[in-house]
C-alpha cells in the first residue's frame, strides 16, 4: 500500500517568484526520507507539492512531474481531493479542529470519506490514537475539545488524524519543532513504527533527528535571497552524515554553513 514517489524536473512558483527549481528525486516506499537545508530553501514548498497543497495558495503553481507509483499527480483530470486522501500531511504547528472533540478530530477524515458506522469509527479512533502514542493520555476524555490538549498532545492528535485515513504517504513538515524533547522522542518512535506501513517524508532542522529517524536524506540549499531553492544531493543517511558527496552538504551538516 505504501507508494514510491518519483519527482522529475519540478519547479514551484509563488506568482512570479520561483521558490523551488528543477528538483528530481525518488522516495522509496516504506522508508523515511528527511529533507534538510537552510531556512527558505523551499523544503515546505516542495513537500506541499506532493499532495497538491501548494496550489491552494492564491497564485501558486507547479510545473514538472510528481509520480505516485505510476500516476502523475499533475496530470489533467487528477482530482487534488483524491490525492490528499492518499497523501496525508502533518503541519509544523499543530492544527486540530478547535471546535471538534478529540474523537471527532481523529474521525474527521473517515467521516469525510463517508464512514458513519459507529463501531468502525470507534475502532479506528482507538487504533490511530494508540499509534500516535496518545491513547493513554486521552482515552477517558475523548469528548473534550482538541484544543484543550497541550502542544505536544495536539501534534500527536494531528498525527492520529492523519494516519486514521490510512494514507499511503505521510508528509511531516517539522512536526517536532514546537515540542519538548519527550514528545519529540515519542514522535520519532512513532515514525519508526509507521515506517513499515507508509512512505514518510519529514522536514527537519534537527540534524540529530534526521540522523536518528531517516533512511535517506535530501539536502537542499539556496544560492541567495530571491533565488530558487535547489536539491544538492540525496542519499543514504548514514553515508550522507559521514561522507557527504558535496562540500555544501558537509558544511551545512557540520554547522559551517553561512
Amino acid at each position: 500500500m505504501a507508494k514510491r514517489i518519483d519527482v522529475s524536473g519540478l519547479d514551484a512558483f509563488y506568482g512570479h517568484f520561483k521558490a523551488v527549481e528543477d528538483v528530481s528525486l525518488t522516495v522509496e516506499p516504506r522508508s523515511v526520507t528527511a529533507f534538510i537545508g537552510p531556512s527558505g530553501c523551499g523544503k515546505s514548498t516542495l513537500l506541499r507539492t506532493f499532495n497538491r497543497m501548494h496550489e491552494v495558495i492564491p497564485g501558486a503553481r507547479v510545473s514538472g512531474k510528481v509520480m505516485l507509483d505510476d500516476e502523475n499527480l499533475y496530470d489533467d483530470g487528477v482530482d487534488p481531493v483524491a490525492v490528499r486522501r492518499t497523501v496525508g500531511m502533518v503541519f509544523q504547528r499543530p492544527n486540530p479542529f478547535p471546535t471538534m472533540s478529540i474523537y471527532d478530530n481523529v474521525a474527521a477524515g473517515l467521516r469525510l470519506n463517508g464512514v458513519k458506522n459507529k463501531k468502525v469509527l470507534d475502532e479506528v479512533v482507538e487504533r490511530s490514537l494508540k499509534r500516535a502514542n496518545l491513547w493513554g493520555e486521552v482515552h477517558d476524555r475523548l469528548g473534550k475539545p482538541g484544543s484543550s490538549l497541550s502542544g505536544g498532545q495536539q501534534q500527536r492528535l494531528c498525527i492520529a488524524r492523519a494516519v486514521a485515513v490510512e494514507p499511503q504517504v505521510l508528509l511531516m513538515d517539522e512536526p517536532c519543532s514546537a515540542l519538548d524533547p519527550i514528545s519529540t522522542l515519542a514522535i520519532e518512535d512513532l515514525i519508526q513504527d509507521l515506517k513499515d506501513r507508509y512512505t514518510i517524508i519529514i522536514v527537519t532542522h534537527n540534524m540529530q533527528q534526521a540522523a536518528r529517524v531517516s533512511d535517506r536524506t535530501a539536502f537542499f540549499t539556496i544560492a541567495g535571497a530571491g533565488k530558487p531553492g535547489r536539491l544538492v544531493e540525496i542519499g543514504d543517511t548514514a553515508e550522507m552524515f559521514s561522507r557527504p558527496a558535496e562540500k555544501a552538504t558537509e558544511d551545512y551538516i557540520t554547522g559551517r554553513f553561512g
Binding site: 479542529f97 478547535p98 474527521a108
Partner: protein, 332 residues
C-alpha cells in the same frame, strides 16, 4: 540596590523607582481607565434611563387599562376607560421579524461564504462594496419599493411566490390565503429580510475572513472538498459570529419602522384578526408611527409608550439570549 553594580551610580533623582508609579505612562493609564470606565457606565446609564422613562410614562395608563395588556388584541386607548393590549402587535412584530430572519440568514451566510471562500478577489471586493451599499439605502426607499413594486407581485392571485407557498403550505393557518391583503406580513418580511441582509452579511463575512489559514489547510490536507472545508472549518469557527449577526439583524427587523409602516395594510376592524402571513397587521413600531398624531393626552400617549416599552424589552431579551448562547458555545 538593583543599580549597585554600576561603576558610576546615577544621581538619586534619576534612579527609576520601582515602587511609585508616577511616570507619564501611569497618568496616561489612569486617564484611559477613567475614560473607558466612564463610557462603559454611560452606556449602562443610557439603557437604564431609557427603560425608566418608558416605564414612568406608561405606568399610569397601564393602571387604568380595562383589558389585559399582554393578552388582549383590543386597541382603544382613547376610550373611557382606555382598553389596549399588545397581543396582535406582538404577534405581527415577531412573526414578520422571524420570517425575515429565516429568509435573510441563509442568503447572508451564502453570500458571505461566496465572498470569502469562493469568489476570486477581483470579484469579491466590488461585490462586498455592493452589499455594504445596500445597507446605506434609506429605509423609506425599501418601503416604497416594497409597497409599489414587490407588493403587487406577491399579492397577485394567479401566479407568483404567494401562489406557490399557498399550494405547498396552504393547509397551515399561518400560510392560508383565504384573504390576502395587499400590504401583507409576508411582503413586509421579504422587505425586512432584504433590509437586514447587508448587516448580517457584513458581519458574517468579517468572521469568515478570520478563520485561521491553518484550520482551512487542516481540512484540505485531509482531502476535504471546498464545501466540506466550509462545513468542517469555516462554519464552526464562524458560528458564534453568525449568531451575533443574526441577532443584530433581528433587533433591526423588530424595530424597523418606516418601511413596515408604508407596507403593512392596517386591518379594517379589530375583530378580524388572522394568523395568516398574507394578512395585514401592525407591528409595535408601525402602530406607534401610524398614530403619532394621537399623542394628545398623557393617557393615550401612555398606551403607545407602553407598546414601545414591550418592544424595548423584546429587543433587549433577543440580545441577552444571543449573549447566553454565544458564551455557552464558547466554552464547550
Amino acid at each position: 540596590m538593583t543599580t549597585a553594580a554600576t561603576s558610576s551610580p546615577p544621581s538619586p533623582a534619576a534612579t527609576p523607582s520601582l515602587i511609585s508609579g508616577r511616570g507619564t505612562g501611569r497618568s496616561g493609564d489612569r486617564i484611559f481607565s477613567v475614560l473607558t470606565r466612564g463610557s462603559g457606565a454611560l452606556v449602562v446609564v443610557l439603557v437604564v434611563l431609557t427603560g425608566a422613562f418608558l416605564l414612568w410614562k406608561s405606568v399610569p395608563s397601564l393602571l387604568d387599562d380595562d383589558v389585559n395588556f399582554i393578552t388582549s388584541r383590543v386597541w382603544q386607548p382613547a376610550a373611557n376607560p382606555p382598553a389596549f393590549g399588545i397581543a396582535a402587535l406582538l404577534y405581527t412584530t415577531v412573526l414578520s421579524s422571524v420570517l425575515a430572519l429565516l429568509m435573510a440568514v441563509p442568503v447572508s451566510v451564502g453570500v458571505a461564504l461566496f465572498l470569502t471562500q469562493c469568489a476570486p478577489r477581483r470579484l469579491a471586493t466590488p461585490l462586498g462594496y455592493l452589499v455594504d451599499l445596500l445597507a446605506a439605502v434609506p429605509s423609506i426607499i425599501y418601503g416604497l419599493w416594497g409597497a409599489f413594486v414587490l407588493g403587487p407581485v406577491i399579492a397577485g392571485t394567479d401566479s407568483g411566490p404567494r401562489r406557490a407557498i399557498e399550494d405547498a403550505l396552504g393547509w397551515i393557518p399561518l400560510f392560508s390565503s383565504t384573504s390576502v391583503a395587499r400590504g401583507n406580513v409576508f411582503l413586509a418580511s421579504v422587505v425586512l429580510a432584504i433590509m437586514i441582509l447587508p448587516i448580517v452579511t457584513a458581519i458574517s463575512r468579517e468572521v469568515f475572513l478570520q478563520v485561521p489559514r491553518a484550520n482551512i489547510e487542516a481540512a484540505l490536507a485531509l482531502g476535504a472538498t471546498r464545501w466540506e472545508t466550509i462545513r468542517v472549518s469555516v462554519l464552526p469557527f464562524g458560528k458564534p459570529g453568525v449568531i451575533t449577526a443574526s441577532m443584530l439583524g433581528l433587533g433591526r427587523a423588530l424595530g424597523e419602522t418606516i418601511a413596515v409602516t408604508i407596507i403593512l395594510s392596517q386591518p379594517s376592524s379589530l375583530e378580524d384578526f388572522n394568523f395568516s402571513v398574507f394578512y395585514g397587521g401592525e407591528t409595535f413600531a408601525s402602530k406607534i408611527a401610524n398614530n403619532a398624531s394621537e399623542f394628545s393626552t398623557p393617557q393615550k400617549t401612555g398606551a403607545y409608550i407602553a407598546a414601545g416599552l414591550v418592544l424595548f424589552v423584546v429587543t433587549f431579551l433577543v440580545n441577552a439570549l444571543a449573549r447566553v448562547f454565544i458564551s455557552r458555545r464558547g466554552d464547550v
